[in-house]
């Protein structure tokens, strides 16, 4: 039930969310996507990321950063209120940057840990002082940290006990039923203008196929779920459904355990890399709706990436490298120096068909250079436990190769490569392959102390070069973010790169796209389904006739 109201406003939208994100407070939500994304409808942050993931002042009227990147002076825009009517003050902001330290929620805690002190000047002004200078604090932390109401949290020892999601964002969470739905209502008099959609109803639908059935049926108007590649053409042909797409930032990669022979040898890793045909992966698995991975990890279209590191397949070179290592062919496959066949297990999560398919393709591709890959699918948490035991890279890993993935925010972090490859367990907290390189360590140290933006970018480029040379891991592809929605219901959607269309900008005047109703497209709607329908109808009719016939038989 929705209807366009006057002035292009919409009274209600049904947006399916593909998993339960608990009470949707900063301390109870579960995943970065869709959890944190939806959370931002309710909670504001000082800055937000715009369409291109560039920081944009939001709650902030004016700000100033000192040269050492240790002091961030911020003055808030007036007229901001919590959903319970109290005004948002600098005090709340300061509280938001200290309170998470007492909590176990790591994402906020990590930010708060950088803060040495906060200095509240008056109602609307404060200064945040960092322990060490960090030029990325604005883009990484100030855009991220949700501002929470001090009066709600201040006496709470365990923040997860606060069930009510009370923020200052454009939407108020009015109802949450565990496992069933969320309902949001636009907050009147929001300081950036009244939201264009009065009410958002988010049913929780765990099965993606069901979500798209519902979208086809018209019972939902949009969804947090990304459209599967094979559906793009289907939806494109569908009159009532529009599709929006952009590069994806979620990275699917071949994680290599650098500590397991022969992958301890960079040549071996390089040989594997050269034997892979990433474009084929994209074409077959993603049907072209994605981009092949860059060895420098960062998406070429992203902030830090360049397309210089997208590898080309080169079987001859790969073979040469392997031969050079003394891994000679014996029959179909090669054997290593100890006479052991080059045969490895490739672990993959059993719940992710794209990754399973990728693994199968990789096995096929590596077979061509004489490497035997046995794909093993594992229940996701079991896989985690083998690749990333205890989520602690210092613990003993138990795998050789695995198809792994990092979510979109990792692509946005300037220090992503350090996390992925630094030897130090605290810094290289995502270094699942146990990559160790003194050269890289030096780069990392330089990066941390460097405050100049351009110099930092240069170091990142150097790191990417090193990645492309030593190959600690092999990024396979970045799946495009494709979103589908019913334009007749609402068309103001803004696609944030790598994330999707569920964000504040989609709903706020001045940010949302103009021109709501879209022209209906061609009506070549899936004939197959019509056929299915008639077939089943015939089946039901047949059954009815049979039963009736039997009854008659009885009567006589």
């Amino acid at each position: 039930p929705s209807g366009s109201m006057a002035e292009g406003k919409v009274s209600e939208l049904q947006i399916a969310i593909h998993r339960d994100e608990n009470t949707l407070t900063p301390f109870t939500y579960v995943t970065g996507y869709p959890g944190a994304a939806v959370l931002r409808l309710v909670f504001d942050s000082l800055f937000i990321l715009d369409e291109q993931n560039q920081p944009l002042p939001w709650m902030v009227a004016d700000y100033e950063v000192n040269a050492a990147f240790t002091e961030y002076r911020i003055s808030l825009l007036p007229g901001q209120f919590w959903h319970d009517g109290r005004p948002v003050t600098a005090d709340d902001v300061a509280f938001s940057f200290s309170y998470p330290l007492t909590q176990s929620q790591t994402r906020w805690r990590r930010i708060a840990a950088q803060v040495e002190s906060t200095d509240v000047t008056d109602e609307l002004n404060l200064t945040i002082r960092l322990k060490t200078g960090n030029p990325d604090f604005l883009s990484q932390a100030l855009t991220d940290m949700p501002i929470i109401p001090k009066h709600i949290y201040e006496n709470e020892v365990d923040a997860t006990m606060v069930g009510e999601a009370l923020g200052s964002g454009p939407y108020r969470l009015v109802e949450y039923e565990e496992g069933k739905h969320y309902i949001f209502e636009a907050v009147p008099g929001y300081f950036r203008g009244d939201a264009l959609v009065e009410r958002i109803v988010m049913p929780i639908i765990p099965d993606i196929t069901t979500i798209f059935q519902a979208l086809t049926a018209g019972s939902i108007h949009a969804t947090t779920a990304h459209v599967a590649p094979e559906l793009v053409s289907v939806f494109a042909a569908e009159r009532d459904i529009a599709v929006m797409s952009g590069p994806g930032l979620a990275t699917t990669l071949l994680q290599i355990n650098n500590e397991v022979y022969p992958f301890t040898l960079p040549e071996m890793r390089r040989a594997v890399m050269l034997a892979l045909d990433l474009q084929e992966l994209v074409d077959v698995v993603l049907l072209g709706h994605g981009d092949p991975g860059s060895l420098g990890f960062f998406h070429p279209a992203g902030i830090f990436g360049t397309d210089a590191f997208v590898p080309e397949r080169d079987l001859t070179k790969s073979n040469e490298l392997l031969d050079g290592l003394g891994f000679l062919r014996q029959g179909d496959f090669r054997v290593d120096g100890n006479g052991q066949p080059l045969s490895f297990e490739l672990l993959v999560a059993a719940n992710n068909p794209l990754r399973i398919r990728s693994a199968e393709l990789i096995a096929e591709q590596l077979k061509e250079v004489g490497i035997d890959i046995r794909v093993v699918s594992l229940e996701p948490t079991t896989l985690d436990e083998r690749v990333w035991p205890g989520f602690d890279v210092s613990q003993e890993r138990n795998y050789t190769l695995s198809i792994w993935g990092w979510s979109a925010p990792v692509q946005l972090r300037p220090d992503a490569l350090i996390q992925l490859a630094a030897t130090d367990h605290a810094m290289g907290s995502l270094n699942l392959g146990g990559f160790a390189s003194s050269e890289f360590e030096r780069l990392a140290e330089r990066f941390i102390t460097e405050m100049n933006a351009d110099a930092r970018k240069a170091i990142i480029d150097e790191m990417q070069v090193l990645f492309a040379r030593d190959i600690p891991l092999i990024p396979l592809f970045y799946q495009q973010v494709i979103m589908a929605y019913r334009p007749a219901a609402y068309a103001g959607w803004v696609l944030q790169q790598g994330e999707g269309i569920i964000n504040k900008m989609s709903f706020l005047p001045g940010f949302a796209r103009a021109g709501s109703a879209q022209e209906p497209q061609s009506d070549a709607a899936a004939d197959g389904r019509d056929f299915l329908f008639y077939l089943l109808l015939a089946g039901v009719l047949g059954a009815v006739i049979v039963v009736k016939g039997r009854k008659k038989g009885h009567a006589s």
Partner: protein, 282 residues
């Protein structure tokens, strides 16, 4: 009427046998019958049926027809093996429990109670983590969870049969429990056991598919269930491809269990000769 019945039942049993043997032949001669290696990508992903690919190709371009033929190996094997193991074990315990009664019975029954409430999903994960995710592990997992049901039902039926006068009579003239179980009780519950064998056979195939659906199975095994799983997860229902991707494996599973049922039908006539007695609609 007996004559009619017999005449009618023989072709049925034959039909069942034919269906099963077709699948069996499919399984045994898969390499000969299948046009392609089902693990090989031989066409464009998601292509429609054509001369080269009778049932089109799947999401990465493997030939669905070949997948189907090779799938019969695993599905048939899984169905038969699980059915035999779980019903065999379950029926045996059910018979013993129902007939011997007393302490044996209550111990066995508490075991079945326990099996019935044993949480299946964690168990499946645990066994998969400990034993791996191969074919035999799958057989084991599915058997472990399904024998208890058979045991309970068989036991309930045995209790009923045990109360019959002729069993009482035979006991009186010295028939021991094993003798009675073997010669009479087993025979009386044989149709029920056959049904359960058939049900567990098709159930095994379904459980395998469902495990895949939940991301707990092994979608790498080429089975009918995994073909369906990919069809489902790659949204075959929203495109045209359901016609050649979803219907054939679905029908195969259905025909397999129909085949088993028809055979069971014949067995039942053997176990209970009073076929023509007491048909109320006569």
């Amino acid at each position: 009427m007996t004559c009619e019945n017999k005449k009618k039942q023989l072709p049925l049993a034959l039909a069942g046998a034919v269906i099963l043997s077709i699948f069996l032949i499919m399984a045994i001669f898969a390499p000969v019958l299948a046009p392609y290696d089902p693990h090989q990508r031989v066409g464009l992903p998601f292509s429609s049926p054509s001369g080269g690919h009778l049932l089109g190709t799947n999401d990465i371009g493997q030939d669905i027809f070949s997948e189907l033929i090779y799938g019969s190996r695993l599905s048939l094997g899984l169905a038969v093996l699980t059915a035999l193991v779980s019903t065999g074990f379950g029926a045996l315990l059910g018979l013993v429990a129902g007939f011997l009664g007393k302490r044996v019975e209550s111990v066995i029954m508490r075991c079945t109670d326990f099996m019935l409430v044993l949480p299946f999903l964690p168990l499946a994960i645990l066994l998969a983590a400990m034993l791996g995710q191969g074919f035999f592990q799958l057989v084991l997992v599915i058997s472990v969870i399904s024998w208890a049901g058979t045991a309970r039902i068989v036991r309930a039926q045995v209790l009923k049969v045990k109360a019959k006068g002729y069993i009482f009579n035979l006991q009186a003239i010295g028939a021991g429990p094993w003798y009675l179980l073997r010669k009479h009780i087993f025979r009386e519950v044989l149709p029920l056991i056959t049904y359960h064998t058939m049900l567990s056979a098709s159930n095994a195939v379904l459980i395998e598919a469902s495990l895949s659906f939940l991301g707990l199975g092994n979608p790498l095994l080429k089975s009918w269930g995994s073909i369906l799983y990919y069809a489902q997860i790659r949204n075959a229902m929203l495109t045209d491809s359901w016609l050649w991707w979803v219907i054939p494996p679905g029908l195969s599973i259905a025909f397999l269990s129909a085949g088993f049922l028809l055979i069971g039908f014949y067995l039942e006539a053997y176990a209970n000769p009073r076929v023509e007695r007491g048909q109320i609609d006569a």
